[in-house]
Symmetry: C2
Subunit: 458 residues, 2 copies
Amino acid sequence: MSLDSATHEQLRQGLEGPSEELRQVLQRSRPADLADWLQGLEDGAMWRVFDCLDTEAQSALLEYASEELRARIVPRLGAPQLVELVDELPTDEVVDILAFAPAPLAQDVLRQVDTEVAADVRELSSYPDDSAGGIMTTDVDVFPPDARVGDVLKALRKDEDASQNEGAGVYVVDARRRPVGFVSDRELLTTPIHSLLSEVMDPNPVTVAAWADQEDVAQLIARYGVSAVAVLGSRGELVGVVTADDALEVIEEEAEEDFGRLVGVSDRQPTRMPVWRRVAQRLPLMGLTVLGGMTTAHILDWALGSVDEAHDTLRYVPTVLGLAGNVGLQSSTILVRGLATGEIEPERRSAVFGQEVLTGTLIGCLCGLATLLIAALTEGSPGAPAWAFGNAMGVAIAIAVAWSAFLGCLVPTTCDRLGLDPAIVSGPFLTALSDVSGTGFFMLVAHTMLGAGFGAGG
Amino acid sequence: MSLDSATHEQLRQGLEGPSEELRQVLQRSRPADLADWLQGLEDGAMWRVFDCLDTEAQSALLEYASEELRARIVPRLGAPQLVELVDELPTDEVVDILAFAPAPLAQDVLRQVDTEVAADVRELSSYPDDSAGGIMTTDVDVFPPDARVGDVLKALRKDEDASQNEGAGVYVVDARRRPVGFVSDRELLTTPIHSLLSEVMDPNPVTVAAWADQEDVAQLIARYGVSAVAVLGSRGELVGVVTADDALEVIEEEAEEDFGRLVGVSDRQPTRMPVWRRVAQRLPLMGLTVLGGMTTAHILDWALGSVDEAHDTLRYVPTVLGLAGNVGLQSSTILVRGLATGEIEPERRSAVFGQEVLTGTLIGCLCGLATLLIAALTEGSPGAPAWAFGNAMGVAIAIAVAWSAFLGCLVPTTCDRLGLDPAIVSGPFLTALSDVSGTGFFMLVAHTMLGAGFGAGG
């Protein structure tokens, strides 16, 4: 899901007009859309837009900004401006955003903000990023069991920060701040104001330890269908709360991470990375695939020995299949998930297609080069490397892998155009297609480059 | 995430005591836990527990029950009891639950419930299951822009159904019921009661068409970090609302679906299926892999011809790699995701391990048998099938595939025991390991069974 083209056009026109017009367009835009748009702007235009926003809109923008955009904005803000922004943000976001400021600046900001906020921020920083403590917010409203609904309503109307706790409800705690109940916002709205909290509360609130894995927290929220989970410190006391929208982010993040790992691509938003970084990131595991393929070649050599050069090429087929299979699966997974999560907008489709094929081709060339060297040095007699043979193997592998990357992009894109779910055909179907055609290409190239011995006896 | 063992023990003991004790234990349990526990009980015990619950608890239980459990309960309830349950449930759940009742019973129930509820249920049933309309609830509170916060509070306190709209907020609509603003529950709690809704509302509510894909709706909620999305009918009028917890379910569901498709396993909760169904489900795509492998074998034959029986075995290596790779990836993906989503509880680990290895072994045997037949019929001279050769290929493939399934289970389980994230090593690393060792096993078996010609010239 991304910026729709109408909003994009409005924003672009706003940028070309006077500041007053720009302000009006900005006011109608959602922070998530603004963050997306700003990320694509040059520094000059980006700062013009940022300065047109009031503090509240700036803090909302930072909340939705990618790490990349935060890294462009935060280090260049002054301490007074950061202090104002920090006041508007929930504490969990403050931690993430101050991480982009140089250490002296961050310290300076924490000295100037409210001491309570500073203490909360320091506490949150002490938990690992991917723990319940790392994703919780400390802004949570607590009341004793004998408070009445009317008292809670009055207290919430007075508390300025309470309006930030979207969906968090209020917790009922005992004298040692251990949660004994939960009352949702909706419950507060619909029960008579003279009721005691102990009468209307859910006496069995869902809780989790602060050091629990963020994935476990998200699972709890999904399992029990609750809007919030209470996070407990080491003595069972309430230290914060994780809400359903945090859980949504975690589940998306962890699923994308697992998809990436399954095929050996280790980044979120892989379609937004420069091609050289994609190659660099995937190359180590592809190196492992080359090594595996070469080990297999030696097992086959040990089992069967060498008859002629043509049959020697057969031992390289596992390397071709391994590399082509992996590269094809990477391209197709990136396209399938990118189309499913909306990371790939309609207008970026052909660009992503081209970049992925280029990435696969480069990986194919590098792995082909590695195969060339290994084959030339191990297949020849000692002191006389078999360059012609190695050369043929290298070129054949490069071509088969590039072809597989192309297939890995073509199949999901075509499915999507035809209105089919690309996920259906991107697994074993694609692998079978890529195995057959990859082997065909490989043998064709080997045949053309080596000539002799092919077709004998058939 | 599943039923913890302490809760499980309490429930088990409650079931062995008198009804009064059972009732007390049940009151302390969460509906999601109860649903999990009931699923594992015999019919007699299950009905005893169900009858101990009051109508509210029964409806909550049905809300969290799996399709399997719903199918056991719903058809055996009488119309009067179903009418009571339907009154307690949000309309989107009513549709899903009545789907398990025989058509005459469902019609009977709809005739007896409130006409408005019945109309809503009929409307919801008209949208596809996986569309915004299919997952929305029609229970939504709407007010005109000139209503005051105090009026809203009064109206919500009077409306019995309002307490069910957890996290949905209220929508501000114009005379034609088109949404012009959104006010969250928290906003209602924290703004002065004399404010006009038009002053406090978010004038830019996130909306989606009723026929939009459920995945798009979930993406909108995740992107804009909102607690609810308004669903619009064909004339732009508000027909319902999808909340963050619905989105959480959709995102989990769609990610699992894509994972399954990526490796050719097409069911949610694959570790809870009987082994024969897993085999039946995965076999068609594995048949495709065998066909792909055999086509590759023919390409190699065309390119190189036959030298001796030992070298003929080489042409079957792509089939081994394809099958072993797919089966290993299926087992490892099922274990990795099962461990990540909590579908595999600690006490079920060894059972799931054994079942997956058995599934892989059975698939290996069936695909080995197919290879045996194809190899025997195509490799021999016309009229004299090469049974000994086909036999060797079949057995070798069955063993290599079973070994790969074992590796696919062993690697993630070991990682998990060692405290490492199983996802890291289950992709290309596992494929390389399975390729090398699978080829080794294949050649060893072929060597043992065929004997002659191996090791020549090496």
